[in-house]
Amino acid sequence: MPNPSRRGALRLTAGLALGGAFALTGCGRSDDTAAATATAAPVDASPATGTVTLWAAQGDADVLDKVIKPFKTANPDVTVKVTLIPNGEYYTKLQSAIAAGKGPDLAQFFPESQSQFLDPSILRPVPDGLVDKAGFFESLWAAGVVGDVAYTVPWYAYTYALVYRADLARKAGVKAPSKWDETVPFLKALQGAGAGRGLGADIGWDIFNGQDVAMYAWQAGGSLLSSGGKWTLDTPAMVDALQYNASFFTSGTADTSGPTFLDAQPYFVSGKTAMMITGPWVIGQLDAAAKKDGWTAANVATAPLPAGASGSKSFSAGGSWGVLAGAGNADSAWKLVRYLTEPSAQVAQYKAYSSLPAVISAWDDPAIANQPLLDAFLTQLKNTRAFPQVNTWQQVATRLGKEMEAVAKGTETAAKAAANVQSYADSLGTGAK
């Protein structure tokens, strides 16, 4: 046998290592091929049967057993085995299970970060006629679609809006800002009325901040990907977005020192901060932070996000369901998904965990409609966009968050930060091979 070249030896090492690793995980081309050719049979109205294994992240799914009780009653021959996994490690475990061919029948996903799973080798296409796609918030449905094929069905929804101290705004005689250039003056007015800082800004400088700046870029008229699928992150709109975010800090209406994640609500309640750009779950938590029932109703108001040059846009997020390509009981899994998106089940989920419906008609239920603080979120949800459905979006968003820190702290210009993100995103591509 001739001596292998150095390159050959490296190839051999890599090949052995990869082969070994994938053999250990039980992964292989044959599974992929089988899954890719799987088709979703139409789902009829007959009762669900057999066992449906379901994985979900802890949180909104904690109450699933209670929410699906009527489904089990109506389908006595079905058993639903729910496995809840800590949120932080949910995708890692799911990814490993899928690679090992040991995933559940039905799994929860997050519309804002599910793009890596939207592939026929992982998920089955949503059967035609299973649900009415027009009944969902448009961008939530779009977050599950790749190449005109829908892989996930929205379950619950949230987006960001303004949550601010109405009492301080009244004292200052100001109304919630409706445009970008009204935001800093509004925050300054809140400070004049006694708040320590106008805005309790998120200062994690991570993927969540990246999502914020993406939202501002949309408001400024930008888009994150071109129609040809190339990253467009060094645009004037992105520079405006980075500058808009930095203006909160440079104007002194937000502090790069805090509040940190756990402090956000206590700071807001105590008046150290007077506004948050946040999700609807906060509404239900402020009374607890204030240790007084009715505090929120008396002191808090909500409003849609201020509009940039291109309007008031936010991102769509929440939960969704997908049936795995290797599901043994796909038919019953789809029946369960169909049940979970019925307005009554959506309202039951809201009552049990305050998860806001992804189905628009469910918002008419008095349990939700009679809560004026949620109105701004409904308005905003109708004006949202989905993050790019590409594999590398999470990495790009994380880098955006880091660059935002540099701009907010004045160590980098917005134009340089946008160029950095563009060059980083270009080096990653979109993950498509």
Partner: protein, 318 residues
């Protein structure tokens, strides 16, 4: 064939036969012992092979490919990219910055931890012997305390309106925002590392000190050597093996430092406390398995290199 047997031969032959049987019985005993040794080693060997050797080789393989998280569903579509990931690493300003940060952790953290551990060990070994047990427990407590809880407390202590600044305020000083200041965050993170590790250094130094016979000191004292000369000419030279071990252990720890910067500052502000291990973790978390594996191999090589140099230097002195 005929054989001439001399008078001495039978004896030699017997001896020879007997020697052969002894050898064979010895060799079979040896084989048995070897088999027993392997039997006892087997559990470790299996665990080592499965959880260390194979993943290490696999990681080396991954580092030479463009493997990403999304590729787990198309494993055979992975391309062999040679040393591209390593080149990318060394062209990445943040990785170069993280190497420098890690160097700072090692350069400042190791001497501080060793110095504090040694000083306390000497104190415990001489002046305050009666309370040795109590102090040993007190100083060792940070080693066994949950790092997440500790980091949370430190975070609150060093916040802009945290305990440290309240104490400074009480004496009329305006405290800075420690964890959001690019120049101050690193000292606080290193301080947490020192606080967590000096107990280990102290216990090891204490064990080393207690192994030095008392009569050596008595003889030196009789010859007129004071405490400083005893420390310089007896304690330090005899503690060299312990010093070697402690320095290697701490260097390896600080080269891989992760918990402290991750929990206290998450690598910020502006990446000023991000370590190589944190970089590796972030790459892995964002699905860049190839780059992450390459970074972990760079770390492995650095750890090996520094350990070998330290062993050689200190051994040659001893």
């Amino acid at each position: 064939m005929t054989t001439t047997i001399s008078p001495g031969t039978p004896r030699r032959a017997r001896r020879s036969r007997s020697s052969g049987s002894v050898r064979s019985s010895r060799s079979s005993r040896g084989a048995r012992r070897t088999a027993v040794a392997w039997l006892f080693l087997a559990p470790f060997a299996v665990v080592f092979l499965l959880y260390t050797a194979i993943p290490t080789v696999a990681a080396l393989g991954f580092s030479l490919t463009d493997l990403r998280g999304a590729d787990l569903r198309h494993p055979f579509a992975v391309d062999f990219t040679g040393l591209e990931n390593y080149l990318r690493l060394f062209q990445d300003q943040s990785f170069l910055r993280d190497i420098l940060n890690t160097g700072l952790f090692v350069g400042v953290g190791v001497p501080l931890t060793m110095g504090l551990g040694f000083a306390l060990a000497v104190a415990l070994n001489s002046g305050i012997r009666r309370l040795r047990g109590v102090f040993r427990t007190v100083f060792f407590a940070p080693v066994v305390t949950n790092v997440v809880a500790v980091a949370l407390i430190w975070q609150y202590a060093f916040n802009a309106d945290g305990t440290v600044n309240k104490v400074l305020g009480a004496v009329g000083l305006a405290g800075p925002n420690w964890l959001d200041d690019q120049n101050l965050a690193m000292p606080v993170v290193i301080l947490l590392g020192v606080w967590r590790n000096f107990g280990t250094a102290m216990v090891l130094f204490l064990a080393g000190l207690q192994s030095i016979p008392e009569d050596v000191y008595e003889a030196a004292a009789l010859d007129g050597a004071g405490r400083w000369r005893q420390l310089r000419h007896i304690t330090l030279p005899l503690l060299l093996p312990t010093t070697l071990m402690v320095s290697v252990l701490l260097t390896v720890f600080y080269l891989q430092v992760f918990d402290e910067p991750y929990l206290l500052t998450n690598g910020g502000p502006l990446g000023s406390t991000e370590s190589m291990a944190l970089y590796t973790y972030r790459q892995f978390g964002s699905g860049e398995f190839g780059v992450s594996s390459a970074a972990s191999f760079v770390m492995l090589l650095l750890v090996a290199l520094v350990s070998v140099v330290q062993f050689r230097l200190l051994r040659s002195r001893s």
